[in-house]
């Protein structure tokens, strides 16, 4: 039997733990939809986490921290965009190097920030609704960025599938030559999507240090960037499906802590493996079911060179 109080607190922290994943997954969905594969999420997220923390500490304003975390993510994404769109280089290599670069630079600049206390995003209890038993705790007692992530997912769904901008992004990722002949500037669309994606991934990182963990440590993303890459596949490149995936994996993340606190006799170290193992299993299901509902953008990871046939 499960104690409802335990369940409510587990669900509530799943949402908090899933929110950084949601931002990063949404960002990468937009990037990949335009045909650019950015494997550097882990490096971009950690850069966003560090920048957000440092700016919040320096200015006393966590919101400015979140914004700057996003901008830092965008700058790293700019490196990726330049290499993969302008130089037409191998996108896997650049993405992987961004991971090393992000982890290295934040480890280098971040050494004096370990153990510091910055200014964090505080939960906002929605009046009346947050007083509901259990449901109030799960749904209506989060910080504004957590609510905003869900609105953002809906907004991006609308943009992608209901507007001309979305059509151009999808066209650039599915059939760049056709998009080009329709007058879409493929390179510009891809640049924009990659930068916007990097911005969201950076915000996901900043959320991690400023709202979820409320601290800065070296390498604190601990593989979340890679899990988000898997979540993109899991969600079938659909922003609305990313919500469920992100919260599910957020839940796995907190389960090990919660179970240990209740004294269930499972090793902490073994529990820490679970999200990674589950990610692989989920990926496997996604690729096996590929033909049904899941489909990667056809031109994902392929540089577009004007006038060059396959």
């Amino acid at each position: 039997m499960v104690d409802p109080g335990f369940l409510a607190s587990l669900l509530a922290s799943s949402i908090r733990a899933g929110t950084p994943l949601l931002y990063a997954t949404l960002g990468e969905i937009i990037t990949e939809r335009s045909g650019v594969l950015n494997l550097g999420l882990e490096g971009i997220m950690i850069t966003g986490a560090f920048t957000g923390f440092a700016v919040s500490l320096a200015t006393g304003n966590p919101w400015l921290g979140v914004l700057c975390g996003g901008i830092a993510g965008m700058l790293l994404a700019l490196v990726h965009a330049f290499f993969s769109i302008t130089l037409k280089a191998n996108q896997s290599i650049t993405g992987l190097m961004l991971v090393l670069l992000g982890l290295g630079i934040t480890g280098f600049l971040g050494r004096n920030y370990i153990g510091e206390v910055a200014f964090y995003l505080d939960p906002v209890k929605i009046p009346v609704l947050s007083d509901l038993p259990y449901i109030g705790e799960v749904l209506f007692s989060h910080d504004p960025m957590a609510y905003f992530a869900v609105i953002l997912a809906a907004f991006l769904w609308f943009i992608l599938f209901k507007t001309r901008y979305g059509l151009e992004i999808i066209a650039a990722g599915e059939k760049p030559e056709a998009a080009d002949s329709m007058g879409v500037n493929v390179d510009r669309v891809r640049y924009f999507s990659t930068l916007f994606g990097g911005f969201l991934v950076g915000i996901g990182g900043a959320y991690l240090s400023l709202a979820y963990a409320k601290l800065w440590t070296e390498g604190m993303t601990a593989g979340r960037g890679w899990i988000c890459l898997a979540l993109v596949i899991f969600s079938g490149w659909m922003p609305q499906r990313a919500i469920l995936g992100a919260y599910l994996f957020g839940g796995l993340d907190v389960l090990s802590f919660k179970l240990q606190a209740t004294g269930v006799g499972v090793s902490y170290h073994l529990m820490k493996m679970v999200p990674y193992v589950v990610t692989i299993v989920v990926l496997l299901f996604s690729v096996i079911r590929k033909r049904a509902a899941f489909g990667a953008p056809a031109a994902l990871g392929i540089p577009y060179v004007r006038g060059k046939k396959e």
Binding site: I93, M97, F108, A222, I227, A230, K272, I280, L283, L284
Partner: protein, 332 residues
Amino acid sequence: MRDIITPVASIAASLLVVGILLAAIGINPFEAYAVMFTSSFTSKFGLAELCVKTTPLILTGLAVAIPLRAGLWNIGAEGQLYMGAFAASVVALYSNLPSYAMLPAMFLTAAIFGMAWAAIPAVLKAKFDLNEILSTLLLNYVAIYWVEYMVYGPMRGKEVYNFPYTDLFPDIATLPRFFGTRFHLGFFIAILIALAIHYIVNKTDFGFSLKVVGANPRAADYAGISRQKVIVYSMLLGGMFAGIAGMIEVSGIQLRLRPSISTGYGYAGIPVALLASGNPLLVMASAALFGFLYVGGSVLQTTYSVPIGIVYVFQSLIVLFIIAGQSLRRRD
């Protein structure tokens, strides 16, 4: 001649950028580079450390380079290294083998465990076309937590005052060291393996099929080369080298199993392999360069308390500059 220009210019450009970073935190970059250089090249201890750091990098470089020849990304060398180290440690601590059999048995089990760990993503790739970048990477975390679990739990030593280590290996399970330094037999093992791989890649059918699958998968089908087989074998081979690197690290340097046996050697294998463009002989040279960065990085850490992250910055910048250089040359 032009083949030399891009790497050299890339290294110079990376030195420049890192120099600016060092200056930004108040360290004179010229002084820092001078210290890095003299500490590695002007004493026998420096040279020994250079070889010590180069050894695992040769092996993880090969672990990335061989699958890369077949077009596969093995980002899992770090985890394969941990599994090899784990397997070797079990043999060292619990097998009671006679001295002549101990090191060979550790070597073999490490190779097998590294291979087995690489077999998971290899088979998933060959059977279901599961993205190997993600699967190898995710398995790194599983392997590292597995080692943590073992040293915090079942394998924690009796003489370690509650630290998360195993006990020290018996002497017969450690690699011989030379010249009163940490320089050990593993260096020669790594060199021999690189030479053997050079032969395999260039002179055997398997080496040829690697190249065909990597260059043109469809041509492989016409030539009757089984892509699935090449995928699996190249990944197994890569995992084997990384596993051996793990055995060499625990039996040559650490002399016990502990949570942080590798400072990112598995990940560093990626730039090592890329800088060498997958060529096993060049892997030795680029491993030496990155080994120098590691030695220099740890000297900077002790002298100026510069975090080791600077080494990763170096690694990524060198590769990025090389790619930029290659793309620019393509346009001429």
